[in-house]
Structures are given as structure tokens and as C-alpha cells.
Amino acid sequence: MNATALIAEDEPLLAAALQAELARAWPDLRVLATAGDGETALSQALALQPDLLFLDIRMPGLSGLEVAEELADAWPSGQPLPVLVFATAYDQYAVKAFEAQALDYLLKPVQAERLAVTVQRAQAALAQRRQGLDDPTLQRLRALLAAAPEPAPAHGRLRVIQASVGQTLRLVPVDEVLVLQAADKYVRVLTAQDELLVRTPLKELLARLDPEAFWPIHRGTVLRATAIERVERTEAGRLVARLRQRPEPWPVSRLHEARFRAM
């Protein structure tokens, strides 16, 4: 059966050009669809399950990296992840990171000779695709995200979270925080009994918290390590964390599963 691909690129001419170049370089490849923004790319990739996914880094909605992260998380277990090829006009840092993790990328404008190399690599990768935790794409993606630079802490460690509730400013010691969860434009801050909303992005908060004390378990969720009671695998094969002082289940993304291994 012929290999299939999905192209995520927000500039329509570039999407069409890549498709035309691919038709020459890999005539048997079937391009299932092109998506013009991150969210469409994610939903299309999940729906169509292509073998190959071309991801522009700068896209409206979700960035290429965020699509990859969400995709790895929502991808049905038991199925190998698509082979990922990132595309960028000029993201020096990202390019270095891709090279370090042996993830393929294309520089725009895409040139035929360079695309031929990508096609060869993708064909080789598809020939020896494995699934599960040893999926090489998943491993590389995990390494890539672990190596992502933390924004430098602007004002040192955070000790107190300040959240406005109506006309009042509520103060919660960081030591009492159990969960931080990104929700739309806010971050939910959960303690044993309480819930507050703050506007500071999760990434900024995380940069000012002790990385040993707070563990990211999902793209938008951070748990206090000492508050986790147990981690269980559901029937669908997913990991879920449970806290001592709160009843909700907290799904662990596949990219963060490696954190939970018996000593």
C-alpha cells in the first residue's frame, strides 16, 4: 500500500509548492490533505492517520512543535506515530534542536535535492517503524521537548501565588499548591481545598518553580511530586496519576510517561 502524508503549512503557495515537489520526488506518496493552521493539522492528523507529517513551525493556532506534542499524546496506543518532518524559514534554535535529536527538517525555500534526502530518510524510517514506547519518533520528540530551553527565571523562585478574586487579592503559599493546569487564557491553581485562577502563563510560572518539586505530566498540567499517591494504567493503555488530597484523575501524556518508572 502506498505511503500517505499530511502537510501542515499556513502559507497556501508554500503548501502547494511542497505538494508539487513531493509529487516529483516521491510519486507514490499520497498527500491526504493540507492544513492551514495548527488545530486543523492536529485534528486532520488524528482523523486521517498519515504515515508522514510535514509540520511548519510557525502556524496560527498551535505551533508545529505543539501539534507534535499534542499528537503524541492523543495518538492511539498500539499505532506507530507518523514520521515527522518540520519546516521552517529561519528558526535557528529549533534547527539545532532537530539536528541534536535526529528529527528531520526542511528549510524554506525547499530545494529539490534536499527534499530527496528527506524522502530517502522517511522511506527508511517507514520500513522499520516500531510501535509502543520504543517508537523512535516518540523518543526523539521526548528528548526534543526535554531539551527545550526554560525561560530564565526573571525574579528568582516563586514563594507565593497572588490571584485576584473579584476585588480581593488572594495569596497562596507555593508550598500548598498541588496542581497547576493551563486552561484557555488562565492557569488553574489547585490546593487541597481551593481553586484560583491566575493570568501568568504556565511556562512563566514553571520557570520560577523548583523543577524537582513540580513535575510536568502533560502539556498543560504540572503536579507537585510529593502529592502524587499512585499512577495507574487504564484499560485504554494510558497512565493516570492520582493525588492524596484531591479526587480527580490526572492523565499523563505519552511524552511524560518515562518519568514514572519503578526504582
Binding site: 503557495l13 508554500l14 508539487a20 493552521d37 496560527p60 529561519y90 525555500p109 487564557k185
Partner: protein, 358 residues
Amino acid sequence: MADDTSAMANALAHPSHWQPAWRHAGWTVLGNTGIALALTVSTREGFWVNWVYSQCIGLAIWALIDLGRYALNHQGWPGPWRMSALVLAGTLAGYALGSAVGSFLLGRPLGSLMRLPEGTGGFLLLSLAAAGAATFVFTQRGLLAHARLEQAQAQQQASEAQLRLLESQLEPHMLFNTLANLRALIATDPPRAIDMLDRLNAYLRATLAASRADAQAHTLAREFERLDDYLALMAVRMGPRLRYRLNLPPELAAHPLPPLLLQPLVENAIRHGLEPAVAGGEIEVGAAQEGGALRLTVRDSGVGHDGPPQAGFGLTQVRERLQTAYGNAAQLDWRSAAGHGSQATLTLPLQTPATPRP
């Protein structure tokens, strides 16, 4: 008074103020020695006595004037009238103090200098002339050095601003993505490729010209042409996600404007407003005359942003250019709300159109 004292203490605590002060003291000692020599030739007093008195009086006058000018003005430049008064008062007080100290050092009764046959008036006048001349020379040299320093700083600031402007205009992302689109168009739509290349050409030429200090007379008409080039390039890239309108009333077409002043604002509207919006949106750039002011607006219907503008928005750069070009007579106002787009408004003094150059 307490403020003056602390200002003086601050000024004196600053090492850059001490260096000229010590140099002034050195010249004073040298000048005093010259006066002592002249007095030795013209009076019956020995050189040693003249030298001690000259140094005591001269240094006392120098100390009072050089310290006094920091008490009057924290930068040490109180202006000609106050400086003259300071020289007069400093000389009188310094003369009294210095002659007392000199008499003490030489073991003479206090005020013995006053009883010298030549009279006090001559010495006082001599001291006054010396102090006045020295102060004048030191002040002129100081002011000159100060002016040179300010000029050098202003030049450095201007070149840094130009460099930042150039960097922001030749943003690699914009350039390489545009080239990628151009490459795609050459194969599929050559006439459109040529149009895009012409616009890129005009855009690059204007950017390089604007980054040079000797930019030619620039008008609103030219500014809007360059914005049209830029937006047309972006429209090729973004397809139907970008719609734009440029409204320039004909009577304002010849109005002068610093080159590419609006460019960073339009780039903001694209980068922070429309690019993150999945459905894209609309940009409207307008010019209007309101009373004695020229009002330029850049509005976008993009994602918008709550709270103060972020560091990458380039507003500081625009404000710096406004300050350089118009001083405090121009304003930049930026409003934005998440989900409701953004609007930047420039208010400039209305200028009579520059006479067209031959």
C-alpha cells in the same frame, strides 16, 4: 538647602567629577607659583613668603569656587550670572581664609598681610583677576568637553536606533518566507512572481535608504506606497487570511514623515494580530488631519492582547524615533484587547508640506 547639599555630595561622590577637579587644583598651584614669582620681583617680600600666601589664598579660592558650583547646580554649571557672583564671593571669602591660614603657617600675626604697604586692594584685585580668568578657562573647557560627550552619546544612540530599525525590517523570517513564495510563483504564475519581485525590490530599497541617516525627503505618499509593497508581499504569503486598506487623503500626500515610521506598527499588526489568528483578519492604515494635528492610525482585527504591550512589539523603537524627530510634540497611543484587535495611533504636529525639491 538640604537638597543642594546632597546634590553636591552626590556630585562629589562621582569619580568623573573628581578628575577635572584635581586637574583644576594642579593648574591653580602652578598659577599661584607664577603669581608668587611676579610678586617677588615687584615687592620686597621674599619668594617663600609670597609662595605660601599665594598657595593658601589661591587654593582656598579654588576650593570655594569649584565646590560652590556643585552646590549651585548638581552638574556643576550654574550659568554665567550665578557663576560670576560665586567667583566674587569665593574670592573674598577665599582671600580672607587663605591669608589667615598663610599667616598662621608663617607664624605671623593674623591680618599682617592686610597691613602690607601696597595695600589690600591690590592683592584682592589680583586674586579676583586670577580667579576670574581661571574660572572662565576651566568652565569653557568643561562645557566644551560636556558638549562633545553629549554629541557623541547622541550619535551613538542614533546609530543604534538605525541598526535596530534595519534589523527589524530585514527580519529573516519575512525574507526567507517571501523568497520561498517567490520560488513557488516562478513555476506556477510568472507574472505574479515578477510583481512580487518588484515589490520586494522596492521594499528592500526603502528599508536600506531609511536606515541611512541621510534619508531623502520622505512623504506620507511614499510611506503609504512602501506599506502597500509590504502588505502586498504579506498578502501573497497569507492568501485570503490578510485583507488590507490604505486610506490617505490626497491633501496629506505631500506631508513630510520620517521614513518607515509606520512600518513597525503595521508589522506588529501582522505578527501579533493576524498571524496568530486562524481566520486572519483585516488591517486598516489611515491618515487624517484633526485640528492642528496629523493623526495616523494602524488598526487590525487580529487576536489582540490584554494588558500592556510586550517587549517585542517595537513600540519603544517608534517612540524613540518620535522623540528624535519631534521632541515631546508627538505621541504614540496603543490600545488592544484580547479578541478585539489592536489600534496604534500616532499624533504628530501638522507641518506645512515640504517644498518639492528640484
